[in-house]
Symmetry: C2
């Protein structure tokens, strides 16, 4: 089944808003066998919306719109589409009561112009919106003039409401029409291994997983390996994807999880399983390693805290790094990273420490110690190891990459 | 002048890539008086691309495409568009030599299929791409069949290359055609004041700045006030925008900067001007306040470091918060936030401290201390103040909002 997206909003064309709905819809629909073959964005004008929706219905017979369902004058999607299907809008008492109730719960009363939100094209199915005030609509039938029949699905443009309605109301209705042929992908996440080394180690896998394809997606955490099944029978796609993921997991160095796996969460789960704890001693990341770890719910089971030793004075006073070491090696050095990690481990009392110091830039780099040079030391029950990183990118990229590398280095040190 | 965007890439329709180019183009073009009236995304197919570009030229006479300019089989934009204009592709020796040179510099030799990247439609203007291998193209002329003339601008899809070519090659050529009527906006950034309070204080300004419009954009830092001039003469737009910004700056409480102003950068600039320093004592944010401050280049002039006291043991050992205070008030309390801030100020030796403790969730909330409750204490030369925040959102939103609120509270404490 093919379908077109029509995205409505002058703000989108002017670039005041980035359209994230389009990508999310494309992916979710392809996964149930519905292919988005075109996406059109138009402004909040009756003619523009009518032209775009009518053309999409003419080409593909199925259209999904986002936006233009609110109570303001600009919100005209429902009127235009019901007009295309030749169905009058009918006021629905039950929808109005639900809206009044929704407002009542937050101590408000809907305005007169909210009444239009309770109007529905005759014969349409209401997609109940429990996450906002404008319901979605499913309009299916003969289109006067063309004689052909068509399907129009109208969703709100607010990303959270769109996502919930898609999941609960749209995908269950569309999946049976997908003819069972789907585009689905799985991702194996790796860290600490450059793309070229990965390709050397797993390049030979590619022909064996065909017709599935393999894509290398480098990011700040590492390289994600995306395996995609294109237009396969649903069961076959899942079977082949599972087999390919197993094969890759065996062969790919640095693999730490699948799909949405988060490196910090994987690290914390391992620490919890070991009954061990971690603290941090950060310089150039300024607290980012701690913030990253504590972004995981329940991190308090293994993360105790840390010291942000940005200024050399704090490296001395809070961590006791000797002035002599700072003077002999400079703040960005193996010796200082090691001293920071070991001091934090002793002073704060944890099984593991991440010590990190580097030149994030844009200033402060020298020929010997350029922007992007970062030293990470991991101190643990079995001693301290340090690693020099040479990272590229702007200040924030260097810091984010250093943070992810530090998590990966600690993970690699933990006993299996 | 009106123009349509055509964005090319099957990956975009499948949702593997989010199209950020569209918003950026819309905004930049509107600011020079060129209005994007429609955006169409199609896959990498000859027919799809031809249909979309021909339809756009038919409706609007001007089209800007992104994507499909690389050396692979999928990259067919140039062939298709030159066909529409009836112009054959001609091999350009100078472009080929530039490409060879580009590869040589990184120790490589272009492959045979790169030769097509040196082919250009007869009569087209090459938009030199110093940031990648595929040049942009400016094709203008009569379109066989229709008899009308049209303009097609072809840019690469890689965001960085698109952005550079837009700025250096496209906008200077398009601006003179914009007929001087532009859509431009300016933003006044505010923090610490709810949208409703802002509206009460500055609502009366709206009629006085007409025909400019005012939009309230709530975000994690605070509420941005966006003033927009719609389709005005360029000089008039700028004059009215400047006057409106001055008016708003006088009236809006919590204003800290214009357009891309960053709260942390504003805070650091003020500290530097005062010759004062700051340290942090963070619990639920886990280092995020420090990471946020040190995201600003040159932050070392005022930021010294801090303690991440996530576990109560660290609050005691590293900051000396008495067990009795923790037991009497609980970790999330005014007393503990205050003790953390004051201890960090003394122990680490700074003019100012931010102390922060809260319930980020999703677990750990109680009826008395729900998820989203955060205490922020600011300790300084003139004493300590504490503020209770009740924040909404998921774990990360609570932490980000708490971080921004803490920066705003410190900024408000600094002497003018």
């Amino acid at each position: 089944m093919n379908l077109e997206l029509v995205t409505i909003g002058t703000e989108l064309l002017l670039g005041f808003t980035v359209d994230s709905n389009g990508a999310e819809l494309g992916r979710a629909l392809a996964a149930v066998g519905v292919r988005v073959v075109r996406r059109t964005t138009v402004g909040d004008g009756v003619d523009e919306v009518r032209d775009a929706v009518a053309a999409a219905l003419g080409r593909t017979g199925a259209v999904l719109t986002t936006g233009g369902l609110g109570p303001t004058r600009d919100d005209l999607t429902k009127e235009v589409v019901s007009g295309l299907f030749g169905q009058p809008l009918e006021f629905r008492e039950d929808l109005w009561e639900a809206l009044v109730e929704r407002y009542r719960r937050v101590g408000r009363v809907p305005a007169e112009n909210n009444r239009c939100q309770a109007e529905v094209p005759r014969g349409a199915t209401v997609l109940v919106n429990r996450w906002g005030s404008a319901p979605g609509l499913w309009i299916e039938g003969r289109i006067p003039g063309s004689g052909a029949s068509g399907l129009a699905i109208l969703l709100p443009g607010v990303p959270r409401e769109m996502r919930k309605l898609l999941e609960h109301e749209v995908l269950p209705r569309l999946a049976p029409r997908g003819a069972g042929r789907v585009v689905r992908s799985r991702t194996l996440r790796t860290t600490g291994i450059p793309e070229s080394s990965l390709a050397e180690r797993i390049g030979h896998v590619e022909p064996t997983i065909a017709p599935l394809t393999l894509a290398y997606l480098p990011g700040t955490t590492g390289v994600d390996l995306r395996v995609t099944a294109w237009d396969l029978d649903e069961a076959e796609a899942d079977r082949r994807l599972a087999a390919a993921m197993e094969l890759l997991e065996e062969r790919a160095p640095g693999a730490f999880g699948r799909d949405d796996a988060d490196l910090a969460a994987v690290l914390l789960a391992r620490l919890r399983a070991l009954g061990q704890t971690v603290v941090t001693a950060e310089s150039c990341t300024g607290g980012m390693v701690g913030a990253r770890i504590t972004s995981v719910p329940g991190s308090s089971a293994a993360f105790l805290g840390g010291v942000v030793a940005y200024h050399n004075r704090i490296k001395q006073s809070a961590l006791g790094v000797p002035v002599s070491v700072l003077e002999a090696h400079g703040a960005v050095s193996e010796a200082v990273a090691t001293a920071m990690a070991e001091a934090a481990r002793t002073r704060l009392g944890a099984d593991w420490t991440i010590g990190l110091t580097g030149v994030a830039g844009p200033d402060g780099g020298t020929a010997e110690k350029p922007v992007g040079l970062v030293w990470v030391a991991i101190a643990g029950p079995d001693g301290t190891t340090a690693r020099e990183l040479r990272l590229f990118g702007d200040r924030e990229e260097v810091r984010v990459r250093a943070t992810e590398a530090a998590l990966a280095l600690l993970l690699a040190r933990l006993p299996q």
